[in-house]
Symmetry: C2
């Protein structure tokens, strides 16, 4: 296999690049037409032929799984990138989550998160599986922050709801960010009868 080593490397580079195109294209198409996504649509948007598409993903289901998986990964990375380790109040992860969803980046709001965007995909058990795994992961991560669980849920779901509304064009970027700031505040001050007692 020494022969093939070199091949594999450049081939892999190309392969990875078109796979990126395909995943992006698919996510975009899903954002537009939901589960009605078509292989032809994706191939078109990705600038490859149907054969090309099938070369990388053996079928529609496999493609969908890959898309969801990839979106989950990217969202995790985005949130991690928004972590502010210099913060001392509990709730670092939750705040990063909020910043990511409500920062005004349409991509993040649109394609990421435990996103409503992916509705309909829940119907497919294989996909439900990877989504559930992601759900569990996030619940654990956010719980580690040391905040009142109820405050976590309220803030988190508010962020998701806001992001969804934003992605549907129901919120302006300014409004979204204003709301985000209030959510961040809530992670420090708590909510109503659920005040946060520092440290």
């Amino acid at each position: 296999m020494t022969t093939a080593r070199g091949i594999e490397r450049t081939a892999e580079r190309n392969s990875t690049r078109t796979q990126r195109h395909i995943l992006d294209a698919a996510a975009h198409v899903i954002g537009e037409v939901g589960t009605a996504m078509t292989l032809a649509q994706v191939a078109d948007a990705a600038g490859v032929s149907k054969g090309g598409l099938m070369h990388h993903y053996s079928g529609r289901l496999q493609l969908l799984i890959a898309v969801v998986d990839d979106a989950n990964d990217r969202f995790r990375e985005a949130v991690t990138g928004n972590l502010d380790l210099s913060e001392n109040a509990p709730g670092k992860m939750l705040r990063a989550y909020v910043r990511t969803l409500c920062g005004g980046d349409l991509e993040a709001a649109n394609y990421f998160g435990s996103a409503p965007i992916w509705n309909g995909l829940y119907g497919l058990p294989e996909i439900r599986e990877v989504m559930d795994a992601d759900t569990v992961w996030w619940e654990q991560q956010l719980a580690l922050d040391g905040l009142d669980p109820l405050v976590i849920r309220i803030v988190r779901r508010a962020a998701e709801g806001l992001a969804a509304a934003y992605s549907y064009g129901e919120e302006t970027k300014e409004d979204l960010q204003e709301a985000r700031d209030l959510l961040l505040e809530m992670t420090v001050q708590g909510v109503g009868s659920h005040q946060v007692n520092p440290g």
Copy 2:
């Protein structure tokens, strides 16, 4: 046309009943498979034939429009039914909205609201239209309540996010209702730096 009057009445009764079946079935199917909804699936679930279905709705698009329209109507009615006119604090409508979405009724959480459930339908301009109209209507209704607009948005989106999570099985009913109570509280006490000053 006096001739047809009687016919039309009983026929309308029957017609209305099967239309109800069809709309419910379609909403259910959409909840499962999203935009990939199929006329055959709907006909099956509604217990009618394809011909029967086409008799009531002239095409897929017309059916989708009817479903969305109907869902919007039912949601409005549900919220109105949850109004508590004996409340004296501002925010009656918002609280009814929250109660409806986060009351634990899966139907309401699943099929109603400016619901993420309907994603993918946004891609169809005709549907986008009726959804946008509904969006505007709700914004006006909620704004009439006399609450801080930012508090309205936070509470509302949180309720929607919670309902979405609940419909995906990510929230228990008890957790949902606990969160609901806190949201209701927020409409009275305000949030963080946005305290509500009672009128």
